[in-house]
Structures are given as structure tokens and as C-alpha cells.
């Protein structure tokens, strides 16, 4: 449906993924959307038929049997099987989105401090500071360490990954990755006061070599 409307596009669209986490989440969406649509239509169909049909003469015993059959298959088996399927597929996918240790090496770390209403970005291995903008190498996992200087915010780049809250007193870590170079937009997802609607930022993904060059240049400028 959304393909008809605008081609799933839009710079904030979770259905137009550009990183592994967002891609997995969008597949989850399409899978669940398809399956649950079927379930929904089936329930509607049964309900409508049940209302229209002529039951004829049904005695107490027959209706008891009917009831047990409906409740057992529809009320117990259907949800249990569906939920088990969703969890078995979904939970490992969710685990893969967490900032777990890599098989080799360490992911690049970027520190982000959110405050009303901007994002302060710093690269702890160098002295680079940016505002409302992250520069990352494409194709590599990045761990963003989130801190708040005031209220609760939430860090979200829909095309790259899900969101994570930025909470005073805590450091939360979210892993993002962009498959291709490009500019990916993000914004604050937790209501944070008057300027919430304008608390945007950008993630600029560049090729690895270009990123190294950028790092050296910026450091020289500091």
C-alpha cells in the first residue's frame, strides 16, 4: 500500500531502511503485518458467518461441544502458536541489535550529550566536537554513548536503527550502522518540552577512507 503512496520513502521512514537493525525491524513489520492481516480477516469472516448463519435446533450438549472447540482452537491454540512464532523469530533479531562485543576489534565510539534542544557530539579518541551532526564510516558498527544534561530525550535515526532513551544520570549505548554512504536524519523521540519538535540531527555516513581523512583534518583544525 505504502509503495503506491510515496514508495516508502521519506528521510525518516522506518520502512526505507539503510542499516542492519532498521532492515531487520522493517522485515519484522512486513512479516507481522502479513500474518496478522490474515488472522484479522479470518476472525472477521468467522464472526460475520456466525451472525448470519441459521443455527437450526441445537441442544445443550452440542452447543457445549461447539463452545469448547471454538475456545480451545481459537482462544488457546491460535494465540499460543502465533505468539510463540513471533517470539522465536523476533527475540533473536532483537538480541542482534544490542551493542554486544564484536568478534574482533572494538566498534568506534561516539559520545552524544542531549540537552534542550540540541545534540552535542564528541569523539572520545580525538578532541572533535560537533553539534546536531554525527559523521560515521559507512559499513561499520558504531556505538553511540548517550547522556543527558537535563531532561529525558530519545536518540532515533529511523533509517539506521531503533531508538534509545537518553536519561539523566545514566549512560545508554545504542549501536547504529549505515550500509551505504549518505545523510540520514534523526530526531528526538521523547517529549522534552517546548523545542521538542525541532530537535533534529543528521548522521553523515562516508566511506572508510574518507572518514579517516576527515578525522585527521578535523583533529588538525582543533
Amino acid at each position: 500500500m505504502c509503495l503506491l503512496v510515496t514508495g516508502c520513502g521519506g528521510p525518516f521512514s522506518a520502512l526505507n531502511p539503510a542499516g542492519p537493525s532498521a532492515t531487520a525491524a522493517s522485515w519484522l513489520w512486513w512479516g507481522m503485518f502479513g500474518y496478522f492481516s490474515l488472522v484479522m480477516l479470518a476472525v472477521f469472516a468467522v464472526w460475520f458467518y456466525a451472525m448470519r448463519r441459521d443455527p437450526g435446533d441445537i441442544d445443550q450438549q452440542q452447543s457445549q461441544r461447539l463452545q469448547n472447540r471454538w475456545v480451545f482452537w481459537g482462544g488457546l491454540v491460535l494465540p499460543t502458536v502465533s505468539l510463540a512464532a513471533v517470539l522465536v523469530v523476533g527475540l533473536p533479531i532483537g538480541r542482534a541489535m544490542l551493542p554486544l562485543p564484536l568478534e574482533q576489534g572494538e566498534p568506534l565510539r561516539i559520545d552524544v550529550t542531549a540537552q534542550q534542544w540540541r545534540w552535542d557530539v564528541s569523539y572520545p579518541d580525538s578532541a572533535i566536537m560537533l553539534e546536531d551532526r554525527l559523521v560515521i564510516p559507512a559499513g561499520e558498527p558504531i556505538d553511540v554513548h548517550l547522556n543527558s544534561a537535563d531532561v529525558i530525550h530519545s536518540f532515533w535515526v529511523p533509517r539506521l536503527a531503533g531508538k534509545l532513551d537518553v536519561i539523566p544520570g545514566r549512560t545508554n549505548v545504542i549501536r547504529i550502522q549505515a550500509d551505504q554512504p549518505g545523510i540520514y536524519r534523526g530526531h528526538c523521540a521523547e517529549f522534552c518540552g517546548a523545542g521538542h519538535a525541532h530537535m533534529h540531527f543528521e548522521v553523515e555516513a562516508v566511506e572508510s577512507e574518507a572518514f579517516q581523512t576527515w578525522l585527521t583534518q578535523e583533529q588538525a583544525n582543533e
Binding site: 488472522v39 456466525a50 448470519r52 452440542q62 471454538w70 481459537g74 482462544g75 513471533v86 529525558i152
Partner: protein, 838 residues
């Protein structure tokens, strides 16, 4: 005039009208009758619904096009915060409570709720609290930190205005009404059913309401505690949610959602109850799967307390906890599916008559199933991380709440209208109302799922053009206005029907349950005589029941004594065990609520001495209320030839008052448990938790004070034991002694608090400890005062061997006071000492 009145019963029914009727004119304000109070709740709730609806229209107007500036950011934030607050706290819950208060006594075959004055108090607290909250909109100082009030945004630093105070104080005030309705409905359902109506013979709706009422009792206290703590942090500078000093903003989220999630089911259960009631009536066959449904209701009640964390999937909690809450959240689908398929089975085996209420049930089916399925999607953590706090959630939540609550509610309105008005609704206008609402709703919210998936976050007052959101938002806004027209048509239809509707005959839908055995329009006392109901479908089995009831063929048909009487029955079997005297019209509820409103306004405007004086008066007013109870000589004079089969409730040890006390203490205990949770949570999870190296309380005086409390409770226990054994010796003296020891304990505990070097404005540790000590002091003080009153009542003859009822009611208060004291000592003194030693 009802068709049930005839020459034979007219004069007796007129006498019933006099005894049970409200006072005329301004005297209406003193009404305590459940029919009056229930309808007032419903009508007031609908007014708030319209206010909330207008706010929704403003939101949709602002978002219809990108980059609009009809509303400023500040105005928009106030409006969306108030939309949620009004719809949840001032519409959904009160309307359902009101409907339950109206219907329950009629369904279980009695004349009123068991604590009528409490109904009235609840209504006035709701009305005054609601007015206070909504007035903030007109003063342009409405809360603007969301209906969820997350700290630190709602704290005094980031929200220095009065907005959050309006919210915290107003909502807490309104919650008094929810708690009182909860207690009252539980006790009424359990203790005042018609003779022979065992739990398994109860109409299914009563099971839903019983579950809802219990969930209110256990679900609201965490929010009440959270609101009190946040207001203390804002007004008195104490530390609970502030990181510096050892608080944690996440504690607020836990307390809020510990309430907030059960709340969703508190709203859904009565809706589902209406569906379960209507489907069998329109299928013209008894509900199939009654036992399955009862089981599903109970299961739902339990599960709903175990999944609050799914509102917090993005705060960064351990992944194992996420998996657990993910599973728990999805588990709710099971009891929901059980109910759906029991309904399908009922329709399958019945012959469906398609009237207007059924149309709304159909709307419920379509909308709620869709909302339930997106709910399962949201429960899956990796998907939730994407759509959390986007318009996808807004869409989901409206599908669940509008589908699960509003549509069944309107179905119920149409179904029970003849009851109130004696007239039938029209079909044509009603259908227009339904289709406009249904189409408008889906147009608004179906497309909004996509808006969210395309990345539009919630609670933004405007958005850039060209992000792919423009068309979706325009469609949503158009749909919103169509829905508003639908609601307008609906209101018009209902208003017109009071004048032009066809006269309804007795039991117009051919229903099975007892509420259709009353006169139409309904009388204040419901039943002129109280029948035995040994069946689940009394009206199917005996269609002549209404006339027999009106003719006085059953119990308590005599009204010549001029007192309001109902039966009290056993909780399980429904066998009648006593006659309960109910209080008549009273000004005490209005007076008490008005004084509490002054307390609330005093705190709001920071005139603390006004609040303090008013609080003293509020306590006095409530004590005066307790003085005039069912054992008072004016309502149950001791006479020689009084009835003994069954006896009066005040002559028995097991009374509704005892049940009310125990249920109230369960709610109170939940508040206490929430405070203990806060203590342990901050201790173990707050990022900057600090505890003083030396425990700040003087240990020996504290333990001595506890010993005195234990002694006082024991003395009280001796008096109660003697009463139970039929020995009235020295009761007055024992009560005086217990009260005196309680007083010394109170003084000592107060000294412990005042002499402790506490710094509640610096350390969360000291703040929590202070609140705990205050909580203990309130309970010790209360136990002491009511025990002194018991001594006086023995003197006056209101309490004696023949009237043993009250001390039995007070006893659980002593047990509770004792338990919280020693638990507090263990949690706040012994455990930290052991920790430090280890």
C-alpha cells in the same frame, strides 16, 4: 407511570418512593442513591468527553498541514497533555464507574450500593477535581509535560509554573473517587447479592466489574503515591526523582506505569463486560463459555499487573527483562482470544436479532481486533524500538481504547437507554451516528499507523513539509472531523429520543438479567421486594418476575418503618444472612468533598496554612460521618421485638463494614508496598544513591514506641476477643487504655521523627524515610482516635454486646498499623544495619 403499578400496589410503592427518593430542589445535592449518583457520573463524564474531544479537534487542526502556526508550541503541549488527562481520568474511568454503580445493584437484585454516602463523596471529589484540572486550561497554565508527567521535565526546575501542580493535586483528588468506587463495588458485589445468587449464578457483567473494581483498588495506589512524592519534590524540595541526592527519574516511570498499564484493562474490562452482556441478548441464547470467560477475566487481571515495563522498552533495561516483559505482554492475547471465541460460539449457536446496539458491537469487533493485533506487534521489543513514541503508537492506542471502551460503551448506552427514559432509541439517526463515527475513526487512525512507520514522532506541534507525512496527516484530520460529526449526531439522537422515542415495553430486548425486572423508567429503590435468584437467567425463566416484584411477593416488602433496607448475603453462596440498614440522603459527602477541595486549592495556591486548617476540618467531617453509621441509634434503635431472622447487620460480627475496611486496607497496603518498592528501587538502582553512615533514627526510642504500639493493639485485641466470646466486661476501659497507649506511642514516634537529623531536601534516603514516618504517624493517630471514639460509643450504648459490629471493623486497622510499623523498622533500620555490618 410504569405499567407495573396498579391499584393493589400503588400506595405501597408511593411509600417506597418517599423513603428512597431524593430531597426536592437543592436537596438533590444530598442524594446518595446509586441510580442518581451513577447517572451523574455518566453525564459529567460525557461533558468531559466533549471537552477532551474539542482538544482533539484542535490537535488535528494544527497537524492537518505542515508548518502551521495556529497553535504555539506551548499551547499545543498544554492541549495534548490535557487531551490525554481528560480522556483517561475524567472521562473513561468515571463514566465506566458510573455505569457500574448504576447497573450493579439492579443486576444483583438489591436496592442500592452498600456504602451510599461513599458513592456521593466519590462523585463530588470527581466533579471538583475535574473542574480544578480543566480550569487550568482557561487560566492558560495547564500542565504541558504530557499526561505521563515524566520527570525531570515535570519537576520544578524545568516546569516552574503551576501546570504540574494542577495535574498532581487535581488527579489525586479525582482518585479518591476511583478508590471509593472500587471499594464500594467490590463489597457490594460480594455481599449484597439476591438470595441464592451464588458467584457462579452472577451475571457475567458483575464478574467484569468485580475484576475492574479490584484492579482499581490495587492499580491506583502507585500513581497516588507517585503524585504525592512528585508534589513533595516540587513544593517542598524533597528528593525522589532528582539524580543529584540519590533519586531516579525512572522511579517515576515505574510508579506511573505500574498504575498506567492496569489502567488500560480497567477501561477495557467493563467494555468487554458490555459486549458479553449484549451478545447473548441479541443472539437470544445464554452466553456460551461462561466459565471460560470468568477464567479469562481473572487471568487478565493478574497478567495486567506484570507488563508495565512494555511502556519502558526504550529506557535501556537489561535484555533478559525485556524478553520477559515481551512475553508477558503478548500473553494477554490469550484471555482476550478466549473471550472473542466464546462470543463467536454464542453467535454461532444463536439466532441474531440485529438492532442498533449490535451495530456498535460490530464496530467494537473490527476496531478492537485490529488494535489488539498491533498491540502484539508492539510487544515485540525490536519492532517497538522503531515505532515507540511515534504516531504508530498513537494509532494503536486509539484503536484499543476507542474500540475497546467507547464503542461498547455506546452500545451499552443504546441498550440501557429504555431503562432510564422508558423510551426506545430511533434507528435512522442512530445508524447515521454509527457510520459517521466508524468511518471517521478509521480514516483518522488507520492511516496514522503509516504516519508512524514513516517516522513521525508523537507530541510534535508541527512538522516540515515534504517528509512524506503531509497527505497522511491531512487524511487523519479530515477523518477526525467526520468522527466529530458522528459524535454530534449521536448526542442529538440520544437527546431527541428522550422526547420523541417510542414508549418501551417491559424488558424491550427480551434480556435475561435482573436489571430488566425493575420499573421503567427506573425507580430509586429498583425492587419493591427482593426475590430469590437461584438462576443465571431469571428473566428467561420467569417473565412475570417484574410484576411479582412490584406486587411485593418477595422479601423486605414492608416499608412502613421508613428505613432504607437491603439484604446482606454470603460472599460465595449468596445466601441471605442479614438485613443492612443504609443511610438516607446526607449533606456529609458534599460537605467533606468541598472541604477537601479547599485543601487542594490551598496546596495549589501555596497558602499552606489554609490547606492545613482545611485538612483538620476534613478529618473532623469524616469522623462525624463515621459517627452516624448504621449502628447509630437513629438508624437502628435497640428495641425489644426487633427482627432476628435475618438479624440487622449491626447486631452481627460479619458486616459489610468489615469487608469495606479490609478491601480499603488492601488498597492502602498497595500504596505502602509502592513506597517500599521506591525505597528498594532507589537503594539498588539510583545512579547516585547515598545513605548516611549512621542510621538517623534513635533506635531505642523507636523500638520502645513499637513495643507500645504492639501493646495497644493487644489490648484492643482482648476487647475484640471478649466481644466475640459474648463477654462485654470492661470494654470501655479497654478501649480507653488502648487509645492511651496508642497516644504515647504516637508522641514517641513523633519525637523520633522530629529529633532525627534528617535532611530531606538533600538526600533521597532522608526524603523516603520522612515520608515513611509520616505515613506511620497518620495510621497510628487514626487508630488512636477511632479507638477513643469506640470508648465513647460504648458509653452511649452504640457499641455493646448486642451491637458488636464496630470494634470488629476497627480491628483490621490496628493489625495494619502494627504490620506497617514493624515492616518499616525492618526495611529502613534493620536491613541497612545488617547491610552495613556485612
Amino acid at each position: 407511570m410504569s405499567e407495573l403499578r396498579n391499584a393493589g400496589n400503588r400506595s405501597r410503592l408511593a411509600q417506597f418512593d418517599r423513603v428512597w427518593g431524593n430531597l426536592p430542589g437543592w436537596g438533590q445535592l444530598s442524594a446518595v442513591n446509586h441510580t442518581s449518583v451513577g447517572l451523574r457520573f455518566v453525564v459529567t463524564g460525557m461533558v468531559f468527553f466533549l471537552i477532551g474531544g474539542i482538544l482533539a479537534m484542535l490537535i488535528r487542526t494544527q497537524l492537518a498541514l505542515p508548518e502551521q502556526d495556529i497553535l504555539s508550541s506551548s499551547a499545543y503541549n498544554q492541549i495534548f497533555s490535557m487531551h490525554g488527562t481528560v480522556m483517561m481520568f475524567l472521562f473513561a474511568i468515571p463514566v465506566l464507574e458510573g455505569a457500574a454503580m448504576y447497573l450493579i445493584p439492579k443486576m444483583i437484585g438489591t436496592r442500592d450500593l452498600v456504602f451510599p454516602r461513599l458513592s456521593a463523596l466519590g462523585y463530588y471529589c470527581y466533579l471538583f477535581g475535574g473542574i480544578i484540572i480543566v480550569s487550568s486550561l482557561f487560566l492558560n497554565m495547564a500542565p504541558d509535560a504530557g499526561w505521563f508527567m515524566y520527570t525531570p521535565l515535570s519537576g520544578s526546575f524545568y516546569s516552574p509554573g503551576l501546570g504540574p501542580d494542577f495535574w498532581l493535586l487535581g488527579i489525586t483528588f479525582v482518585e479518591i473517587s476511583a478508590m471509593s468506587a472500587g471499594v464500594e463495588l467490590v463489597v457490594s458485589i460480594l455481599r449484597t447479592r439476591a438470595n441464592g445468587m451464588s458467584l457462579r449464578k452472577m451475571p457475567i457483567f458483575c464478574w467484569y466489574i468485580l475484576a475492574m473494581a479490584l484492579m482499581i483498588v490495587f492499580g491506583f495506589p502507585p500513581l497516588i503515591l507517585g503524585s504525592i512524592l512528585l508534589e513533595l519534590e516540587r513544593a517542598a524540595g524533597m528528593v525522589f526523582f532528582e539524580v543529584a541526592g540519590g533519586g531516579d527519574p525512572l522511579l517515576w516511570q515505574h510508579l506511573f506505569w505500574l498504575f498506567g498499564h492496569p489502567e488500560v484493562y480497567i477501561i477495557f474490562l467493563p467494555g468487554a463486560g458490555i459486549v458479553s452482556t449484549l451478545i447473548p441478548v441479541f443472539a437470544q441464547r445464554p452466553l456460551l463459555g461462561y466459565r471460560w470467560i470468568v477464567m479469562a477475566i481473572i487471568l487478565m487481571g493478574f497478567i495486567s499487573f506484570g507488563l508495565w515495563v512494555h511502556h519502558m522498552f526504550t529506557v535501556g533495561i537489561p535484555s533478559l527483562a525485556l524478553a520477559f516483559f515481551s512475553m508477558a505482554s503478548m500473553l494477554v492475547a490469550v484471555p482476550t482470544a478466549i473471550q472473542f471465541f466464546a462470543w463467536i460460539a454464542t453467535l454461532w449457536t444463536g439466532r441474531v436479532v440485529f438492532h442498533l446496539p449490535m451495530l456498535w458491537i460490530l464496530g467494537f469487533l473490527i476496531i478492537f481486533v485490529a488494535g489488539g493485533l498491533t498491540g502484539v506487534m508492539l510487544a515485540l521489543v525490536p519492532f517497538d524500538w522503531q515505532v515507540h513514541d511515534t504516531h504508530f503508537v498513537v494509532a494503536h492506542m486509539h484503536y484499543v481504547l476507542v474500540g475497546g471502551m467507547l464503542f461498547p460503551l455506546i452500545a451499552g448506552f443504546y441498550y440501557w437507554l429504555p431503562h432510564v427514559s422508558g423510551r426506545m432509541p430511533s434507528d435512522t439517526l442512530g445508524r447515521w451516528g454509527f457510520w459517521l463515527t466508524f468511518i471517521g475513526f478509521n480514516l483518522t487512525f488507520l492511516i496514522m499507523h503509516l504516519t508512524g512507520l514513516f517516522g513521525m514522532p508523537r507530541r510534535v506541534y508541527t512538522y516540515e513539509a515534504g517528509l512524506g507525512w503531509d497527505l497522511f496527516n491531512l487524511i487523519s484530520s479530515i477523518g477526525g472531523f467526520i468522527m466529530a460529526i458522528g459524535i454530534a449526531v449521536l448526542i442529538l439522537d440520544i437527546a431527541l429520543h428522550f422526547r420523541f422515542g417510542q414508549r418501551a415495553r417491559q424488558n424491550p430486548w427480551n434480556a435475561d438479567s435482573l436489571e430488566w425486572a425493575v420499573e421503567m423508567p427506573v425507580s430509586t429503590y429498583n425492587f419493591a421486594s427482593l426475590p430469590d435468584v437461584p438462576t443465571r437467567h431469571p428473566m428467561f425463566e420467569d417473565p412475570t418476575l417484574p410484576q411479582k416484584i412490584a406486587d411485593g411477593k418477595y422479601g423486605l416488602a414492608d416499608i412502613s418503618h421508613g428505613l432504607r433496607e437491603i439484604y446482606g448475603s454470603r460472599a460465595g453462596t449468596g445466601k441471605v444472612m442479614q438485613v443492612i440498614h443504609l443511610p438516607t440522603n446526607s449533606w456529609l459527602p458534599l460537605q467533606s468533598a468541598a472541604i477537601i477541595a479547599v485543601v487542594c486549592l490551598g496546596l495549589l495556591t501555596k497558602f499552606y496554612w489554609v490547606a492545613l486548617v482545611a485538612a483538620v476540618f476534613a478529618v473532623l467531617s469524616l469522623l462525624r460521618w463515621s459517627w452516624h453509621n448504621g449502628a447509630h441509634a437513629s438508624s437502628a434503635p435497640l428495641t425489644d421485638g426487633e427482627r432476628t431472622d435475618p438479624p440487622l447487620h449491626s447486631r452481627m460480627l460479619d458486616s459489610p463494614g468489615l469487608w469495606g475496611m479490609v478491601v480499603a486496607m488492601m488498597g492502602n497496603g498497595t500504596l505502602y508496598a509502592s513506597l517500599l518498592f521506591g525505597w528498594f528501587y532507589l537503594w539498588t538502582a539510583a545512579p547516585q544513591w547515598e545513605a548516611p553512615t549512621q542510621g538517623p533514627l534513635a533506635l531505642m526510642p523507636l523500638l520502645l514506641s513499637g513495643a507500645l504500639l504492639t501493646l495497644a493493639a493487644l489490648v484492643f485485641r482482648v476487647a475484640v476477643g471478649r466481644l466475640r466470646a459474648g463477654n462485654g466486661n470492661g470494654m470501655q476501659g479497654l478501649f480507653w487504655i488502648a487509645s492511651l497507649i496508642g497516644l504515647i506511642h504516637f508522641g514517641l514516634l513523633l519525637w523520633v521523627l522530629l529529633s532525627a537529623p534528617l535532611e530531606p531536601t538533600e538526600l533521597a534516603h532522608d526524603s523516603v524515610l520522612t515520608v515513611m514516618l509520616m505515613y506511620l504517624l497518620i495510621h497510628s493517630g487514626l487508630s488512636t482516635v477511632v479507638t477513643a471514639m469506640q470508648a465513647m460509643r460504648v458509653q452511649l450504648g452504640y457499641v455493646s454486646l448486642r451491637v458488636p459490629y464496630e470494634p470488629i471493623v476497627v480491628w483490621p486497622l490496628w493489625v495494619y498499623t502494627l504490620a506497617i510499623f514493624w515492616l518499616a523498622v525492618a526495611a529502613f533500620v534493620l536491613l541497612p544495619m545488617g547491610w552495613g555490618a556485612a
